[in-house]
């Protein structure tokens, strides 16, 4: 969020909505209506005085109405833009021309009631709709007692209760009497998979967040009893099943498979009643009931659709199709996130990057036409080489620091420190005017080291570094002394101790500042081509997308033809022809001038770093060396080949894909088939593989409906553990039940068996309702087999990329960077990242193409300045650093017959593990040298140093 706030090419229009959109792709004009904030963003320093003085209480919507705030407020401390705004509805000054208290108390003079609503005319090339999802209507929650019983809360309210910056500072208490909780119930599928309220689909996220909230609640209070009521446990995300099992076992969460119809209140506690599988009815009392509310279409979906000229589907979400899930019905308008359908954060982030790729395709010739790049004056080497001349700026931060710490004492103390030639206190050193003042003082006094005694470097150091850069001083020559977040704010009751601590923090900062050296910001040229490994649906989509954005792309495929697993698919999820999608992709790949395909080729070795990879690819025995800037892994996955259930022994036991192929080949084979038994989770979830393969349930339903379509009177049994038809495919599940498919649930400890007796096969399964084993005679047994990783470990070694325990590629961050690997410049998509249906693979391929295109579009890769540097003379080539570096950013090279370590600056993250383990202390870290840290230790000791 902070990045979005800072980039010069992003203009955030808050309290704004789209009013009109016309024009065609590449040339749209949009009219946006913006409500005023009544507080000037530039001047406001988020000190909070206005909120204190305002008399008008306002319900805090951000905290789900659980808290009260005032008319002028900020949603939460870390909000972006970090400036307050006034809630026009509640403000006395705006409505009744009275009060005006906040304007008088605001020391930064930021409040301005003359602001008016304004209309903006924007000419843009494309529109991206990402308005998110709507909340479930409270009327739907009435039957659970929401609104009547105090302790029935929605999951979002519970989220605020557990949040440290929430209304109860993270203490989970009963809302009725603020007493600690002893027993909580989570009810699933509230407002989703529910015909009455019109949300027939599954919201795909509630099972996962219920388990997270339950675990967080248990962390807060270990002897809390937590019960979760599920229909199907749908944690099909990557690594989610493992996390769920860990949470259930570690926190002892009780999971009951039942759907609670209503909630009653019995002497202050909440009573839930349900019936178990064997017909017994139970009821228990709880202190709090959390309703895991689903995701509905956004409230203003119709308005947006009408203005943007796009169609919605029957649930009110944006209508898209399987092979292009990111394009809305109007050309040039794209959709990403929950508005396209209920989904989890990783899928939203993937779709968002995918849409960025498609826009970049549409507007590739208009790239860099309207962006502004800041230019900086030449660095003044002379001043930097002089002896240290340190300037110390001690900040009041309004009353945040000055209210506790004696600023003048700290300033005067700083003046006495050696090499400090200038010191001054500032009211708000981070405000625009103060920054100008600091810049002029630095130039005026020829300062070459700066210490800012104020808040945390984590949030404000880049701001001050920009200031240094703007006056020709190396940005590394600044050190921040955190005397606010880690001093005045946390020792407000002990002003003298806080002042003493502030002095020592400043003394340590000055000691370090004295030893700061300029670090140059190296940029590396990027060779503008991409290497895509794997020619399946994901690989082809990624290659095409990169090429359409204007960059050369080399597509390497191990087999002799493109297509991968897509060749084995006959129908897509929405009934379309898979072969059509395949042919279309292959035709575009073969025809594209910027895509070069290498079949029967395998990547043998890769070296280099982001922007400068060199790989040797073996084609028909001959290694071909290629230079490229980025790598996209799309090596796909393999269908799990079962070893049990008589597969391979009896030819009437087939997998779903084999069934699909035979269905497509002709009706003939169905002649004498009356009974079909499908078995789910074959191989997945615990048999041979721990993970859930995510798409086999939906595939089984698709085939079952196909079978029913061809032969309506056929009997189909589906033996399942959890039916995970998440999202809109829940409709297919309902359709299957309507068409008479019989679903029988089995427990993992009593799996079904396939028994063969004189040529006929039977499936024996324990039916939990009848409490007995039943034998179903089957003319055909169809196994829903999962997806195992391809030969990822070979490629993983070549790229030194980590794999998950299940063997898929490990991404940088499961939620926020799902298509990037930890090491820069390498991206992953499709089944190589994890099992997923076709539309998600395509969206991920486009996302990977977007991320891969960024370094190519920039042409230069910025390298962080905090990196390791090796002193060649002292290095004895022991190789300890190379083996310990988590980012492969330090390598041993042969320098005239001796081995010496050398840093790969582009990959180095500055952690310093190599420096602290180097036997000859030959490695120094930019910004955190040994001498600087030692100086800080001695400054810490002050006079007591022995």
């Amino acid at each position: 969020m902070v990045e979005a706030g800072r980039s010069p090419n992003i203009e955030i229009l808050t309290s704004a909505r789209l009013e009109n959109l016309d024009g065609k792709p590449g040339r749209f004009t949009a009219i946006v209506h913006q409500e005023p904030r009544f507080i000037d963003d530039d001047k406001c320093t988020a000190c909070g005085t206005c909120t204190m003085y305002c008399p008008m209480p306002v319900v805090d919507l951000f905290n789900e109405r659980l808290d009260i705030t005032r008319a002028p407020h900020i949603d939460y401390a870390q909000a972006v833009p970090t400036s307050y705004y006034i809630d026009a509805r509640a403000c006395l000054r705006i409505n009744y021309e009275t009060c005006n208290l906040c304007a008088q108390t605001c020391t930064a003079q930021a409040i301005d009631f003359s602001q008016k609503p304004r209309k903006l005319n924007l000419d843009i090339g494309a529109v991206v709709l990402a308005p998110g999802f709507g909340r479930i209507d409270p009327s739907v929650l009435k039957k659970y007692g929401y609104g009547r019983f105090h302790n029935v809360v929605t999951s979002m309210e519970f989220e605020r209760l557990t949040c440290a910056s929430g209304p109860t500072e993270g203490h989970v208490v009963r809302l009725s009497d603020r007493e600690p909780l002893k027993k909580i119930a989570f009810l699933q599928c509230v407002g989703s998979r529910d015909e009455i309220c019109g949300n027939g689909y599954c919201s795909s996220v509630c099972c996962m967040y219920a388990i997270k909230e339950a675990s967080v609640a248990k962390e807060h209070d270990p002897d809390l009893e937590v019960v979760l009521f599920f229909m199907d446990i749908r944690t099909q995300g990557k690594g989610f099943d493992a996390a769920r099992e860990r949470a259930e076992e570690k926190y002892g969460l009780r999971v009951i498979r039942a759907r609670i119809p209503r909630v009653d209140q019995v002497d202050g506690r909440l009573a839930l009643t349900w019936t178990t599988d064997d017909g017994k009815s139970c009821s228990e009392l709880f202190d709090m009931v959390v309703l895991s509310e689903g995701l509905s279409a956004p409230k203003d979906a119709e308005a947006i659709a009408e203005i943007a000229g796009i169609e919605l589907n029957h649930y009110g979400f944006c209508k898209t199709c399987v092979d292009s899930p990111l394009v809305a019905s109007r050309k040039g308008v794209y959709v990403a996130g929950a508005f396209q359908g209920p989904k989890d954060i990783p899928e939203s982030v993937t779709q968002a990057s995918g849409v960025a790729a498609m826009v970049s395709e549409l507007l590739s010739e208009a790239r860099n036409t309207q962006t502004v790049t800041l230019s900086y004056p030449e660095e003044d080497k002379a001043i930097e080489s002089e002896g240290p001349r340190i300037g110390v700026f001690v900040c009041h931060c309004g009353s945040n620091i000055a209210g506790v710490v004696d600023i003048n004492a700290v300033r005067d103390y700083a003046g006495t420190l050696p090499d400090v030639v200038f010191c001054r206190d500032t009211l708000y050193s981070c405000s625009q005017d103060a920054l100008k003042g600091i810049a002029s003082k630095i130039k005026g006094n020829r300062l070459n080291r700066v210490v800012i005694a104020a808040c945390s470097p984590r949030t404000h150091e880049p701001l001050f570094q920009e200031t240094l850069k703007s006056i020709g001083l190396n940005p590394a020559l600044i050190e921040m002394a955190n005397i606010r977040d880690q001093c005045s704010w946390v020792h407000s009751q002990e002003p003298e101790a806080a002042t003493e601590k502030a002095k020592e923090i400043v003394r340590m900062a000055v000691a370090k500042a004295r030893l700061l050296e300029p670090l140059e910001q190296t940029t590396v040229d990027v060779s503008p081509t991409a290497l895509v490994i794997g020619g399946g649906a994901a690989g082809m989509t990624a290659a095409l997308c990169i090429a359409d954005q204007g960059f050369e792309c080399l597509l390497v495929e191990r087999s002799d033809k493109l297509g991968g697993n897509l060749r084995r698919l006959v129908w897509t999820m929405d009934g379309g022809e898979a072969s059509e999608v395949l042919d279309n992709l292959i035709k575009r790949v073969d025809g594209h001038p910027l895509v070069c395909v290498m079949l029967e080729a395998q990547v043998e070795d890769v070296s280099g770093y982001v922007g400068n990879f060199t790989s040797s690819i073996v084609k028909a025995g001959q290694p071909v060396v290629v230079d490229h800037g980025v790598i996209v892994i799309a090596t796909g996955g393999r269908e799990y080949s079962p070893t049990s259930y008589q597969y391979g022994v009896n030819k009437r036991v087939v997998t779903q894909l084999e069934l699909e192929k035979s269905l497509a080949s002709g009706k003939g084979i169905l002649k004498n088939i009356k009974n079909v038994v499908m078995i789910q989770c074959v191989g997945s979830r615990g048999e041979d593989m721990r993970h859930c393969s995510r798409l086999c349930c939906t595939q089984a339903i698709k085939n079952a409906l196909k079978l029913k379509g061809i032969k309506p009177d056929i009997r189909i049994y589906c033996l399942y553990r959890d039916m995970r038809t998440y999202g809109f495919s829940e409709d297919l599940f309902k359709e299957a039940r309507k068409r008479g498919v019989i679903f029988i649930r089995y427990e993992p400890d009593r799996r079904p068996e396939v028994i063969e007796r004189d040529g006929r096969i039977k499936v024996r399964v324990f039916d939990r309702l009848l409490k007995d084993e039943i034998d179903i005679s089957a003319c055909l047994v169809v196994l829903s087999v999962g997806i195992t990783p391809g030969a990822n470990d070979v490629l993983a070694n070549v790229l030194k990329a980590p794999l998950t325990p299940e063997g898929f590629f490990l991404e940088a961050h499961v939620k926020l960077r799902p298509v990037e690997l930890a090491s820069e410049g390498i991206y992953v998509c499709g089944l190589a990242h994890g099992p997923k249906p076709l539309d998600e693979s395509i969206a991920q391929a486009k996302a990977a193409a977007a991320k891969a295109a960024i370094p190519l579009a920039k042409g230069k890769a910025q390298v962080a300045s905090i990196v390791s540097r090796v002193d060649k003379a002292a290095c004895i080539g022991c190789g300890i650093c190379e083996s310990l570096c988590p980012f492969n950013a330090i390598r041993l090279f042969r320098v005239n017959k001796r081995r010496k370590a050398e840093t790969i600056t582009a990959s180095c993250k500055g952690c310093g593990i190599c420096a602290s383990h180097c036997p000859t202390l030959a490695i120094s870290m930019g910004g955190f040298t040994d001498e600087a840290i030692m100086a800080q230790i001695h400054a810490f000791a002050g006079e007591r140093c022995v």
Binding site: P457, R458, S916
Partner: protein
Amino acid sequence: MTAGDFNPHILGFFCHWCCYAAADAAGVSRYQYPPNVRVIRVMCTGRIDLRFILEAFGCGADGVFTGG
């Protein structure tokens, strides 16, 4: 000096990404805690060398707290 009014002088090595961020978050929520710790920010606890800890005690630190 009885233990009552002995005020330990403690050195803290905080990792920029986790512990230092937690300390900032504690500040934002205005939690109060004793002011005895002086912090040296490092990019990762992996950066801390045995020498630093021994040097700290050599310089009279009563305690060294490493926060990852």
